[in-house]
Amino acid sequence: MAKVLVVTSGKGGVGKTTSTAALGAALAQSGQNVVVVDFDVGLRNLDLVMGSERRVVFDLINVVQGDAKLAQALIRDKRIDTLSLLAASQTRDKDALTMEGVSRVINELKEKFDWVICDSPAGIEKGAVLAMRHADTAVVVTNPEVSSVRDSDRIIGLLDSKTERAEKGERVEKHLLLTRYDPVRAERGEMLKVDDVIEILSIPLLGIIPESEEVLRASNMGAPVTLNAPMSAPARAYFDAAKRLRGETLEMTVPSDKKGIFAKLFGRRVA
């Protein structure tokens, strides 16, 4: 049975698109059939982060409005053949997304894939609500920073009230993905700790993604970090998070990119 997952946060710039790409790729790398869907109509970026920006012909709105068949709009990843992208429209308005249209497309995607991962726009408006509407599972992306935690709390409230599951009296499984975490600063008391955020939001932890230069390097290259630098600290954290999504129980760690003395002296890599 296909799972619909929404990657959401309320606040912008916390790593929704990066996490959608990395989790989607990690799941696909483990052999699952995955589609990542960009719901950020008007400000699409998932195509760019995935490196498929020049291959977009049709988008979600074309499919919702019946101007294109789903098969025509899906973009198969060139590196992993179990990974596909459905882009958002760059020119249209988010009002072109209708509740009925979106639910028809999601149902069609559920027949073709094991995972339908919806990349939510920031905010709490129509686009964000439509992205979470059909979710079975939600990944709430949060930075260890006051405004991000507050907005995540707000989004958790919406997941409990505005989703199809909530309206049927069922629960959306919610997971916290803490991104841009710096364990050294947290230890010094300069940054909220993992336990602080878990206690405040009271949802289970899916993973801790450490702050890393590899994330920007991957987006520069147009590849999910799990593909571009699979051994890097953030990639390992995303691989673990993806395994937890599949139901595995793993010890929670904050992977680090600590380099040896040799790498420090000579190891300036060029991407």
């Binding site: 920073e145 006051v146 935690v149 507050r150 709390d153 707000r154 409230g157 009230s161 947290a186 010094r188 008391g189 300069e190 940054m191 909220l192 700790k193 602080d196 405040i200």
Partner: protein
């Protein structure tokens, strides 16, 4: 004081944690419910007082301070009297 601030300077995270806990406790109870509680209270309190005294709506101040265990609502109303303005302050 300077020694204290030297040691406490770096620990801003506990402050963030406490601010969030207080804020979210309030937001969770008010959002979807009566988020305009202050406005409602102001209207109803004014209506009660206006039954007995003529008051100038410009001279009414409502302040809300959210605390961890107790919140205070301060309503400050200026009431004109023949001898000159007198003030009534309600606290609760």
């Amino acid at each position: 004081m300077s020694l204290f601030s030297f040691f406490s300077k770096r620990s801003s995270a506990p402050v963030a944690r406490e601010r969030l806990q207080i804020l979210l406790a309030h937001e969770r109870s008010s959002i979807g419910g009566r988020s305009d509680l202050v406005a409602i209270l102001q209207e109803e309190i004014l209506a009660v007082i206006a039954k007995h005294i003529a008051i100038d709506r410009e001279k009414v101040q409502v302040k809300l301070d959210r605390g961890n265990s107790v919140s205070t609502l301060e309503v400050d109303i200026e009431i004109p009297t023949p001898a000159g303005p007198a003030r009534v302050a309600l606290r609760g």
